[in-house]
Subunit: 344 residues, 2 copies
DNA sequence: ATGTCTGATTTGAACGTTCATATGAGAGGA
DNA sequence: TCCTCTCATATGAACGTTCAAATCAGACAT
């Protein structure tokens, strides 16, 4: 039962087997160009035969870098509705695997006091830097990290510091503008907006996109907007008056799929049909959007993770400016005035 | 700009500051009972003052254990509908933080050939063992790990080996039985089932629960079942004949929320109302269920992660038997024949 | 006074790498 | 022939811990 943990090959085992020194094996792995061609193939053969991989711990110790990046996980757990961040973590893991590095997910015991958890990760030398998500106004993290010279890259703008460029974000305003244009093209004549309470930069950005678009296209009014937290019942409640305002032939764009789901319910309550009678567009392309058939704006997560990781892996040459990517409009039945058959 | 990475305190810094040896500091951290009380407080004060935490890498190297557990992430990425595994990863991270250990998410380049990726993680000494999810028939992983004496614990039964006890699972059959009983209590008279294609052990288990319950309660027929893959359009297509069979006053239980969402659409297509006319119950309590107001069975993820981690952290005393937990029925409007107002 | 035991603390060594430096073997020029 | 240079490979040291063994200081018994 208690079979001794099978002895894994070390660099010395390989060195002995190939009759070279440790350093030569190390060079084969890390600087192949320094090794004579025939030695290279001989050592590489032994590496493959023995299944040798450098011990991450030993390498970390010597090089004083962990080869891993911390990602704070919201301590409120999986109870949040329609978060795109779970998908981000998954995508980030995939991207990391391809870049010979790792993600260290960690949780702050109290999500309102995140710094202590970052401190802890650094003190244990578990990560070389961090990936920030959920950046916000008065976010203490960017400055704290910058002051200490700790590398980081953010998914989401670093809002309070325009000189900070280590971020990748999606142009929410442009995305919403695209959505409004699309709705107008589809024949909707009035476009309202349901967003989050003012103060969330992401939400405010998306709202600004709506305001600009309806102004430009003449399909809306400053007053046609509602506010709700990211919660279904609250969204439904806030959506009702908006549905009454725009009525059949109108549409509502939302700061999130969860809010759009609320609109969807309010539309149904009034005996109207999403799409056919009232257009709805959400944001993030979560499961909720797919099951409701909601048109939505999809963030290019794969590209985001690749760019975030690139910032960290080339930390010596910081980007000249933050990166803004465009979300992609995913058309579904909620923004079509004709029936789209659901099945093939 | 290139401020030298701030020098973090090592055990030697603390030792010098407290005027004791390295080993005494180590004892303060790891075996406080070995240290004289007054020395303890003095050293602890310096530890706190300097913010010392043992370097994980150095500890890993010396102890030959990583203090981390590998979790394979599905390389197909975040595109899957209604996966409960994202939530599992988040919950696991939170539980790990509380137990002074870590989760190492990693991806297999080809998800059909997972072993190589596990091999890689072990060879790099990145993890001491693994947490398996998505256990299935002909799963090569449990045996492979067992043969090598590598600790693991599974979320999901180890189906092919009844002697294996290192798993925690949810009683899907009992959950579905509960759902059927609930539907009968609510006044639905016929209960059909929409599941995944035969061969998925999780799906077969859930189907068995339905078969048992409808047989016992006399509310169904062996023939009243449909099959679809975990995809919305397929589910909608498969749901249509079932809706026609059970009709108003009938109900359909499903192997997942995604399938339930398909039923939900099919019910609407027929001009019927979920809940009021046709009952629907899903499985997993994903966002989709919340947004659609679907009654569903929630897996107790926090308890699952705690037990999974407990198995790994007490690997020397393997559990006597696999652990089966019960899912919790979450009642929403899709299983109520009277209107439940959505808002407060 | 001497020896023995116990508990607290210290010292030496090792975990597996990589960095910096040293050595060795040829090649080429004087 | 000898010196210099270059390229390939080898050696010593160090990263920060913890394990095992050694030392030290008292307490107690003889």
């Amino acid at each position: 039962m208690s079979t001794r943990q099978s002895h894994r090959a070390t660099i010395l085992d390989v060195a002995r087997a190939a009759e070279v020194s440790r350093q030569t094996v190390s060079n084969v792995v890390n600087s192949p160009h320094k090794v004579a061609p025939d030695t290279l193939v001989r050592v590489q053969a032994e590496i493959d035969r023995l299944g040798f991989r450098p011990s991450r711990a030993a390498r970390t110790l010597k090089q004083e870098r962990a080869g891993a990046w911390g990602l704070e996980i919201d301590a409120r757990g999986a109870g949040r509705l329609g978060s795109v961040l779970d998908a981000f973590l998954v995508e980030l893991t995939l991207t990391s695997s391809r870049n010979d590095t790792h993600i260290l997910p960690f949780a702050a015991p109290d999500y309102r006091e995140p710094i202590a958890a970052y401190e802890e990760v650094l003190a244990s030398r578990l990560a070389d830097g961090f990936i920030l998500t959920d950046t916000r106004h008065d976010d203490p993290r960017p400055q704290w990290l910058r002051d200490r010279g700790i590398p980081f890259a953010a998914f989401g703008r670093v809002w309070d510091d325009p000189t900070e460029t280590a971020w990748v974000d999606v142009d929410g305003a442009a995305g919403v503008e695209t959505a409004v244009s699309h709705l107008v093209d589809e024949g909707y004549q009035r476009v309202a907006f349901l967003g989050w309470p003012t103060g969330s930069p992401v939400g405010d950005d998306r709202r600004a996109g709506w305001a600009r678009a309806v102004d430009r296209l003449g399909v809306g009014d400053e007053a046609w907007q509602g506010v709700a937290v990211q919660e279904l019942d609250a969204a439904t409640l806030a959506a009702r008056p908006l549905v009454d305002i725009v009525g059949p032939g109108g549409a509502i764009v939302c700061a999130s799929d969860a809010l759009a789901a609320g609109v969807w319910r309010a539309v149904h309550e009034r005996g109207l049909r999403p799409g056919l009678d009232v257009g709805i567009v959400g944001f993030d392309d979560t499961d909720a959007a797919r099951v409701l058939g909601l048109t939505t704006l999809r963030q290019p997560l794969t590209e985001i993770t690749e760019r975030v990781l690139a910032i960290l892996l080339n930390a010596q040459t910081p980007p000249a400016a933050g990166t803004v990517l465009h979300p992609e409009l995913v058309r579904r039945s909620s923004s079509s005035r004709t029936v789209i058959p659901p099945a093939r």
